[in-house]
Amino acid sequence: MPKDGGIGSPTLRREDIRFLTGNGKYTDDINIHGQAYAYFVRSDVAHGTINSIDASAAEGMPGVAKVFTAKDFEGVGGVPCGWQVTDRFGEAMQEPKHPVLAEGKVRHVGDPIAVVVADTLEQARDAAEALDIDITELEPVLNMKDALKDGATKVHDDLTSNLCYDWGFVEENREAVDEAIKGAHHVTTLELTNNRLVANPMEPRVAVGDYDSSNDEHTLYTTSQNPHVIRLLMGAFVLGIPEHKLRVVAPDVGGGFGAKIYHYAEEAFCTFAAKALKRPVKWTSSRSEAFMSDAHGRDHVTKIELAMDKDGKFLALRTDTHANMGAYLSTFAPSIPTWLHGTLMAGNYTTPLIYVNVKAVFTNTVPVDAYRGAGRPEATFQLERVVDKAAREMGIDPVELRRRNFITEFPYATPVAVEYDTGDYHATMDKLLELSDHAGFDARAAESKKNGKLRGFGIAHYIEACGIAPSNLVGQLGARAGLYESATVRVNATGSISVMTGSHSHGQGHETSFAQVVSEMIGIDASQIDIVHGDTAKSPMGMGTYGSRSLAVGGSAMVRATEKIINKAKKIAAHLLEAAEGDIELKDGAFTVAGTDKSVAWGDVTLAAYVPHNYPLEDIEPGLEETAFYDPANFTYPSGAYGCEVEVDPETGKVTVLGFTAADDFGNIVNPMIVEGQVHGGLAQGIGQAMIENCAYDDQGQLLSGSYMDYAMPRADDLPMFTVDHSSVTPCTHNPLGVKGCGEAGAIGSPPALVNAVIDALQRGGHDVTHIDMPLSSDRVWAAMNS
């Protein structure tokens, strides 16, 4: 029986009441008296020189407050990058300037050139039509390999080339890996592309800037996954506003998936313009703008080689990846193909020698940054694809080949610098085979064959690294931020609790699951606990939500703060009960003296803290409010076995996903219903990438998939019913909850499982097809079968 509250209970999400009744309060719902509207004029060419901008006619149009261009931003900084990668020669990456509005050149379709601010959005749009912008088109830089050739056109004239960095990991292993591959019994090689994606959260980005001249205070309301990070980056690096004069609020946010981590020019613009114009300024992204201004995801081109001995034991792995940075460095872009990708290349396997080379390249496309999974899907896709190909080439069953190479002893230090604390990969594989009825597959395949269809089953086993940490390590790796999390637990006089967390919920259900944790610890009903997030004026400095870090890092900070509360409350209870502090126990919301029936209720203790008439004032302060910052000792390492069953119509190449099974190990589970929902969402996005999603540019750098007519988002009828299990539990050993993180797993493990399944179907049908790049559209599958 599931519990009806606390840790482990499938408690219904309290936030859904407001979301489902249309009462969510999103950034676009915020309208401030007297606000003006900003309309961004964006480049419609991929690469060009700005010869002139004549705003005189536009400024005379009705309702126009001002037309802003780069010259208005001469006194402020550019949009900063939050991570500096050091290349394999020990040099810092090439870091181009990223102006708020384009200076001199435009570098991608969508690059903002000017902003019209007017009384209404319609007036701003009309005036934008009157802007006279003269641009001379330049040759666009699009293909990453061509971009690195000598004499290639440069995206940034002040850089030496289009190469951001050439990263080697672990550089010291390079020669040993080359040697091992040379001498191996067999080497499986695979070249593949990880397709560019657009995150497409349901809510587009919005920014509202407000300025109060009476106290020189700025407020930015924005669609962000991490308002404190925006405050720091924008305040310190762009606009020079100290934190105590800058409040950033990210209210209800309708999905992020990574695209709302970064600090964007539009946020800085609205904050800046609100002060310049002495009135609030609002910008709401259209869907078209979102396609060409939200950071994109993935876009890697990789060659991977796996060396084995005669028994299929993995000896060495070598990868060579080109990673597209786009035209500018988005906030965390450099870290994605490096530290969030190279460190995962061991996967679940004991491969002793690994070398990862990544060349990050500037092109005239929208900047690329983290998208659900961020580096880990790219690592998992290539690894699980090459393992599958190796199994075929070696004539070993793909399940068996994986099992032969599984890591079984923990902690395990990989050759790519991380140490897995716990895991049981055979257990998740066993669970997958059971739940997917792997044993019955041959009979189902025979049935499909009778119907003229090809059935296939594909497996992927993934490793994840969540809750990127600790801060001193990430600092060494180039992060220009710490990666701790914070929480303040404020107990009110009558015993109810407000928890101010530095994590941010934009669909994850923190208001429910975080309350379950505190409810369990204190033993009061969760309805007495509110989770407050998304406002720098309320929460202590926090790092926000991404990388499946919230419960593992933010939840742990909350546990630490709650422990401090309990310790202090026990002192107060000991005083009230006239007992020794060491004898006080907290259970079900009451403090008792061990071995007696003497007790005092939670509410009596909290009241005493705020009305300290009978109180140990000489020993402790009144009040009951504690803050904790938690900096984890290590990443957490969720893992899982994913299985996908497909049917391919050999006449048309159409792939139907018949079933998908996810057997995950997320460590301890706080709310299994929320976990299941997170996995469903991740699977939908992973299957979307594998089957239909693709961001396409033409040879001029025009964004072809710029609307939902051409960019396919997964819909319910593209997806099978999912079988999701998280009963395999190896708790994380280094955080107080033993939790690992579940937000990205689905998007990490599913693409290789699906592609492996399609290849399996085609091979069973007698087609010698070893790889098809995603998305597996009917025409690509048909072409592969008929080539």
């Binding site: 060419v45 001029q700 025009q702 007519m709 051409d710």
Partner: protein
């Protein structure tokens, strides 16, 4: 996108050449053209209203005639800015061949779009460009020969205002 085609016009090559340089012929031939000013030497300024899929826009732009090799070949290029809709540009390499008093007009057309037109219209842009080129050369042919036997489709009529001008108006004008 690129496309090549040819059509035979029942008029001598010199007359076809002259027509290609004529502002009014071009105005009537460019589908959706509202205004056309200028000269073959200095280039033309044009205002064109067109709808590409869901995007309707007024394009303001320039048409230039280059590589002129009278009366055999020339290149017509045009580019137009459609404001928020983005831009369109294209060119046609035209070659005229004498065929017993008739003229065979060969053309290689290249068209590009950018901005919102590319984002929303990429799926239909090839078909759109082909339709534009077809309409242009049909209108052009009609200016010399008069309307084709069959009813021109509505959009052609719309662009070329052929209703008012019957039986090869340009030919009649230059012949008189």
């Amino acid at each position: 996108m690129e496309l090549s085609d040819s059509r035979t016009i029942d008029a001598p090559r010199e007359m076809v050449w002259q027509a290609l340089l004529d502002k009014d012929v071009l105005k009537n031939a460019v589908p959706g053209c509202q205004e056309m000013s200028g000269s073959p030497e200095e280039g033309f300024e044009a205002v064109v209203v067109q709808k590409v899929g869901p995007v309707k826009a007024t394009f303001k732009g320039a048409v230039t005639l280059e590589d002129m090799n009278e009366p055999e070949s020339l290149t017509i290029s045009g580019s137009g800015k459609g404001g928020a809709a983005g831009f369109a540009k294209g060119g046609a390499k035209v070659r005229l061949e004498d065929d017993n008093g008739q003229t065979v007009l060969h053309y290689d057309v290249e068209a590009k779009v950018g901005g919102k037109l590319a984002q929303l219209g990429s799926r239909i842009i090839d078909g759109f460009a082909k339709k534009m080129a077809d309409q242009f050369f049909t209108n052009f042919q009609e200016a010399l020969e008069g309307p084709a036997e069959q009813e021109p489709d509505a959009e052609v009529a719309d662009g070329a205002e052929t209703g008012e001008k019957k039986k090869g108006w340009f030919r009649r004008m230059v012949s008189s």
